[in-house]
């Protein structure tokens, strides 16, 4: 990130939104830097869309302030904000051609005709809609509609572009393609993008940073890697990717490590003491499936965490193999291994007795 860019381009302070008794957004503080591609991630009903609509100016926060580029916009209505939004339904005006749809924002700003034509050409070029400019919306496919919506929102060169589930209406193949296109356009124009999505994969690939929301609260904000590797709560760990969890109690603490007695793991699990925990604290140890090794022989490295189990189920995905391993306690965990060797034979079979192991570094400690 460029250091000259304003790190608090969008500044959200203490924003709450209540609908009657229902708290849609609960005391959110958030800073978004200029030029970021920021994602707000969460399940349906978590308040992410409401937060986006507050940024757009369609909802007024019950409490709190919103600043964009140093200007308090809390009381500025949607039509006067330097912000444009792309709706989930795309909301293409059905009674206007593609061109008229795109030009709408500039016409409302009373921009001169020649100027409008120039901008329209430019934006149409950007989203590659040249062949469709005279068409009516009903003649467009889903992907083309998405481009029209994007072009229409971009033409006013907003300081911030808000995108509500920008890819949800597209089929899988198109979604992947469009994802990269969105990133390119964002990179090219340098406009700050705020994307709302429920799709964690989409958020991971698209974003410079992600905010995970649940029940109106921001649970964690960070780069995709941080969120994935260092989740702070069980919800975040669970929501992003898959994870194995073991509940337990801290039994011993040494200089660096904590020993956590987990019944489901059949013994102590080792982890780094990042939270200054004391013996007796209740914690949860979480491990990502791809951090776990699987082997027939007991692993040699004594520092590793080792647990015995049997292969309950396995699946071959080409690049990966997935194993469901039943530990001696009866708990089933998920392990994934890259298929590094080219071989038609399976190295590990169903019902085979195996060891699973992982580095203490890979243990994520979640404090409730």
């Amino acid at each position: 990130m460029n250091s000259t860019r304003n790190p608090c381009f969008i500044r959200i302070r203490g924003v709450s939104k209540l609908f009657g008794d229902f708290v849609a957004v609960d005391n959110v503080d958030l800073d978004i830097a200029q030029g970021e591609l920021f994602s707000i991630l969460g399940g349906s009903g978590c308040g992410k869309t409401t937060l986006l609509r507050i940024l757009a100016g369609f909802e007024k926060p019950t409490t709190g302030r919103v600043e964009i580029d140093g200007v308090d916009v809390t009381d500025i209505p949607a039509y006067d904000r330097p912000v444009n939004m792309m709706f989930q339904s795309y909301a293409i005006f059905p009674h206007m051609s593609v061109e008229k749809n795109i030009a709408y924002g500039l016409r409302k700003d009373k921009v001169a005709r020649a100027e409008i034509a120039k901008w329209v050409d430019e934006v149409i070029e950007l989203v590659q809609l040249g062949d469709f400019r005279k068409r009516n919306p009903e003649q467009l496919s889903g992907g083309q509609r998405q481009r029209v919506a994007l072009a229409r929102a971009l033409i006013k060169r907003p300081k911030v572009l808000l995108l509500d589930e920008p890819l949800a209406a597209l089929d899988k193949k198109l979604r992947e393609h469009t994802q990269f296109e969105l990133m390119n356009i964002q990179h090219e124009l340098g406009i700050t993008f705020v994307v709302v999505t429920h799709d964690q994969e989409e958020a991971m690939t698209l974003s410079t940073r992600i905010a995970v929301m649940d029940k109106g609260r921001l649970l964690q904000v960070g780069e995709p890697k941080e969120i994935y590797e260092y989740p702070e709560t069980r919800f975040v760990a669970d929501f992003i990717g898959t994870i194995n969890t073991f509940d337990g109690q801290v039994s011993a603490v040494d200089e660096q490590h904590i020993h956590v007695d987990c019944e489901t793991a059949g013994g102590d699990l080792l982890a780094f003491n990042e939270h200054e925990l004391k013996p007796g604290d209740k914690v949860c140890i979480a491990v990502r499936p791809e951090k776990i090794f699987i082997s027939r022989e007991p692993p040699e490295n004594n520092e590793d965490i080792r647990v015995k189990g049997t292969v309950d189920d396995l699946g071959y995905l080409g690049n990966l193999s997935l194993y469901r391993v039943r530990l001696e306690s009866g708990k089933v965990i998920l392990v994934s291994q890259q298929n590094r060797q080219r071989s038609a034979k399976r190295s590990i079979e169903w019902e085979e007795q195996i060891w699973v192991s992982w580095r203490p570094r890979s243990s994520i400690v979640l404090v409730n």
């Binding site: 100016g57 369609f58 039509y79 912000v83 709706f87 909301a91 709408y104 409302k108 929102a153």
Partner: protein
Amino acid sequence: MRKQSRFILSVLAFGYAFLYIPLLSVIVYSFNDSRLATVWGGFSTRWYGELFRNEQILDATFLSFRIAATSATLATVFGTMAALMLVRFGRFRGRTLFSGMITAPLIIPEVITGLSLLLFFVTIQQWFGWPSQRGFSTITIAHTTFSMAYVAVIVRSRLSAMDQSLEEVAMDLGCRPARVIFDITLPLIAPAMVAGWLLAFTLSLDDLVIASFVSGPGANTLPMYIFSKVKLGVTPDVNALASLFILVVTVTLFAAWFLTNQREKKS
């Protein structure tokens, strides 16, 4: 298979015959040359000619069309406003009550609507001295009140089917809320408004009961004229008049249907 389809066809034919033979007989007899409306005396179009020389009929027709056009226009304006208010302006106190009440005029018997309107006009005449005479204005107001409900129902269903984010997009792109209605909302509900207008127009043109209640001396709408003529004995020119009437109403309703269908296919 064949038998069954023949059976279905005859059921269909019977049903439609039941509906349309009375209307057809009026049209057929309108070309009757005889002076007696019920005795066939050969083909002629003389009664149509007669029709256009009858001052009373021409006056009644002109009045009916004037009332229909005015009340349809007013009903469209008010009905659209009511629908906009009910669908677009969020929850307000008593919204459910109001949205229920907008449909009430559709099921209240015409006789009662007519009677209550008459009482209303008589009362306000006593208080304010207006309307000094019942006729065009009172019938127009009466027709507006009940056909407005039809317009509101049609426009409301169109409005609630419309994606509300279309209006939000317009606002997001810098359009002021008052302007959004003209830029986005009205063009998109226009077909429903036109259909509503045409329906209100035909409703007004058809109405006999309410018009009879709120009309005064000298103001005869077309249905009132026909009805009064029939009481004195049917004359062939009434048949001709009725035939033209059927034609106008059919064409209008067909146009309404065509317009709504045409636009809906598009969007």
